[in-house]
């Protein structure tokens, strides 16, 4: 099993991708863990997903805090604060 990770808006542009499929490593249990894991790639990933950056997170299309659980098969998304309306 794998998870699908999506990026939107300014984050999608800065990372140069709208998403990826990845294996969920053992020990990664929350969406905050996943963010830290992806940021550890360095470069633009580290810059865009740094703890100081204002990034919102969704798991299975529901906005969640960093401590929300992630499991195999989930769709996870990272994006900037929303600006609709």
């Amino acid at each position: 099993m794998a998870i699908k990770v999506l990026y939107f808006a300014g984050l999608r542009e800065a990372l140069g991708t709208s998403g990826e499929t990845m294996e969920l490593p053992v020990g990664i249990t929350t969406v905050g863990d996943l963010r830290t894991l992806i940021a550890a790639r360095g470069g633009k990933w580290a810059e865009q997903l740094a703890p100081t950056r204002n990034v919102r997170m969704a798991v299975i299309q529901l906005m969640v805090p960093a401590h929300a659980p992630v499991k195999d098969g989930d769709e996870v998304a990272f994006f900037p604060p929303v600006t609709g309306g």
Binding site: F8, A58, L62, M63, P81, V82, T83, G84, G85
Partner: protein, 163 residues
Amino acid sequence: MPVRVQSEDFDLTREVAQLRAAQGPRAAQIGGIATFIGTVRDINDGSGVSSMTLEHYPGMTEKALEDIVTQARGRWDIFDALVIHRVGTLHPQDQIVLVVTLGAHRGEAFAACEFIMDYLKTQAPFWKKEATPAGERWVEARASDDTAAAKWGTAASNDATKS
């Protein structure tokens, strides 16, 4: 509880008529209809805006809007509500968003309409990119929108930093 995300424009009169007709016989109990239309301005943060492109998260956006309408119906005794939000490229004076609420009286209709807009601004995954003379830029979330959502008494922060 209709919720639509579309690139096409909408017609207020037609949408209100359809929503009222969909209520069947109880349409006769409606005494107050509140409507809100958000439109594109030609200026933002001191720069001229020639066009705006709206991005969304297909699937999640519709779910978020449905959830917001469900919350509104749980708080106020309204018969129904409609939310239409456009995506794609829009120009100044274009319509962006429509909210319609049907109540027995004006109080619940006004309140539910305002609540839906305040929550939509901070909870529904849409992002605006503006074209200005200096180039394109993503619109930053406003702390004032967080404040507006917070007045309804639940945690709905968008973690916005811009005042």
